[in-house]
């Protein structure tokens, strides 16, 4: 067994289990140890442990896994070390959807999914359709066309969000701002089961397609000459991962930087072969966001800090380090 596999099985996997077991105990309120035997009880300890912290850690792990996987896939298919789902308009579309739902006071629920979540999903899907449509209309579904389309759409959506915030009242603006910061406080069984199918299907698809990701990450002509239908595969991966990100952003808001930090740290440890990189990034992203969220809810006794602020504080310097490390090449890519 090679050493990257050792790292995944004997370091990351136990670490993920340890994160799940330890993090729910951390926080201002210390539940008693016997709470573990009372998952259905309705005392304060049981409610805090089983109904608030455990779902929150699970949601953080799921979201972290998906966001990290999104980074891995987008960096491979666009051959750009700085590409993440957030540079491609998906989060921007979801954010615009939520902003519109809050601005219009959309308070309906369809099939157990709130109007805000639905608006986020529709916004994200709309962004995917626009970016894909731009690429098709130019007749050039190349990495650069999709990337540029995504960046342009992101900026456009960001300006519309600012306009709606400007036009809305104070309470709407606060709600919009809070959601835009990325937040896992809505974690419960419903939101977990809302995110789970998206992350599970995204992980399954990318897990099966690790050979395709390797080929796409090198060169289109070479990948095609090896037998890969490049445009079709890039679109399948782009759509599958965008859908996964849309599902996560809908519940958790746009939590930035996980998709850039986790894949790059994993690449340094397990290498760039997606056979190892996909499972490693999946686990690392989950652990990373669960720890960040525990920090977010324990760092201040007065109020909870949105987890997006923690990941951004860690991610900003990391992003710069990555730029300096890659030097001129990263800027040219």
């Amino acid at each position: 067994m090679s050493s990257p596999r050792h790292f995944i099985y004997f370091v990351l996997l136990p670490l993920a289990v340890a994160t799940l077991l330890v993090m729910p105990w951390l926080g201002e309120h210390r539940p008693s140890w016997d709470v573990i035997t009372r998952p259905m009880a309705d005392d304060l300890d049981a409610i805090i442990f089983w109904q608030i912290r455990v779902p929150r850690i699970l949601l953080a792990m799921l979201a972290g896994m998906g966001l990290s996987l999104g980074g891995v896939v987008f960096q491979a298919i666009f051959r750009n070390p700085l590409a993440t789902p957030f540079t491609l308009g998906v989060a921007g579309g979801a954010s615009l959807g939520v902003t519109l739902a809050i601005f219009l006071g959309l308070n309906l629920t369809i099939l157990g999914v709130s109007g805000v979540s639905l608006a986020a999903l529709i916004g994200a899907m709309g962004a995917i359709a626009v970016v894909y449509g731009i690429a098709r209309a130019t007749g050039n579904i190349s990495p650069n066309t999709i990337l540029l389309g995504g960046v342009a759409i992101s900026f456009f959506f960001a300006s519309l969000i600012l306009l709606l915030q400007y036009l809305g009242d104070m309470s709407d603006s606060f709600r919009i701002l809070h959601w835009l910061m990325g937040d896992l406080s809505r974690a419960n069984a419903d939101t977990i089961f809302q995110v789970l199918p998206f992350v599970a299907s995204g992980a399954l698809i990318t897990g099966f397609l690790h050979r395709e990701l390797n080929l796409l990450s090198i060169n289109d002509d070479l990948a095609a000459s090896c037998g890969l239908h490049v445009e079709r595969m890039r679109m399948i991966l782009f759509l599958a991962v965008s859908l996964m990100i849309a599902g996560i952003v809908t519940v958790c808001g746009p939590i930035g930087f996980v998709g850039i930090m986790a894949p790059h740290i994993c690449r340094l440890i397990v290498g760039s072969n997606h056979r190892n990189l996909v499972p490693a990034s999946l686990l690392f992203g989950g652990i990373f966001l669960a720890i960040c969220d525990t920090l977010a809810r324990t760092i201040s006794t007065s109020a909870e800090v949105p987890v997006g602020i923690i990941t951004a504080i860690l991610g900003g310097p990391f992003f710069l380090w990555l730029l300096f490390r890659k030097g001129r090449n990263a800027l040219i890519d």
Binding site: R211, I218, D221, L222, S225, C226, G227, S272
Partner: protein, 263 residues
């Protein structure tokens, strides 16, 4: 048997005709080289052969099968491709990279495709190209010549009856260029693989190939064995340059001498 057959192949982008009524047949085991000035349509022709360009007029058949009826994987099982030069920062080891080229050879069945012989075939390819010592080295640490040998090994690992190469010795220093050309000469002579390559090195074309195809402005101007092809008149027509053709005193191959510049 015809390995490759192009019939009246034309391709345009807007008003610009990049290929104009090109007809070429290459037999199994033949070594054919395409030469011509920049913009003559050589690389476009290779891209049509590989199925990268599809909106063409005319027809292309590989191993007697029409190209449009072949899937990408079927084409990959027929043609191994060596590009001009790849990016230098490929984050894989040499062996990982070569094994990737066997994508179309993996057996589909079960949950994931399997290629049980992939590693041993990749190792045979490194042996044939003399790069066994680089197997575990990262691609990003290799010289241009070594990287090109890895590209050739990757194409060989595809185990195809046809090898297509786009200027395989471009951007290399003379020693590395000679090493790559020798390697390709050996592969061509020993394996019976059909080789079709593009080059600007006319002396190599005259030395190691069965036929030279000269292209200019998207058309085939001359298609002949080296001794017939290498004439001052042909070279003037294709390259619009006055070169002197001489015969090598040892090998007997024709070669060109550049024109003396007037001072």
């Amino acid at each position: 048997m015809n390995s490759i057959h192009l019939q009246n192949l034309s391709f345009s982008i807007g008003a610009k005709r990049l290929l104009d009524n090109v007809s070429i047949s290459v037999d199994q085991g033949e070594r054919v080289v395409i030469v011509g000035p920049n913009g003559a349509g050589k690389t476009t022709l290779l891209r049509c052969l590989l199925g990268f360009i599809t909106k063409t007029e005319g027809s292309v058949t590989l191993q007697e099968k029409p190209l449009p009826e072949l899937s990408r994987q079927e084409i990959a099982r027929m043609i191994g491709y060596v590009p001009q030069q790849l990016e230098s920062d490929i984050p894989f080891t040499v062996l990982e990279f070569i094994m990737m080229s066997r994508y179309a050879n993996a057996q589909v069945g079960g949950i994931l495709p399997k290629d049980p012989d992939g590693e041993s075939i990749a190792k045979q390819a490194t042996e044939r190209t003399g790069i066994q010592h680089l197997e575990n080295q990262s691609m990003s640490t290799l010289s241009g010549g070594e990287r090109q040998k890895v590209n050739i090994a990757a194409a060989l690992a595809q185990q195809t009856p046809i090898l297509v190469l786009d200027e395989p010795s471009a951007h290399l220093d003379p020693k590395q260029r000679e090493s790559i050309q020798q390697l390709l000469g050996e592969i061509g002579r020993k394996s019976g693989t059909t080789i079709i390559t593009v080059t600007h090195d006319l002396n190599w074309a005259a030395m190691d190939f069965d036929r030279i195809i000269g292209m200019s402005h998207g058309r085939v101007i001359t298609d002949a064995p080296p001794a017939e092809f290498m004439t001052t008149e042909n070279l003037l027509q294709i390259f619009d340059a006055h070169w002197t053709v001489q015969t090598h005193p040892e090998s007997g191959h024709p070669f060109i001498l550049p024109t003396q510049h007037s001072s």
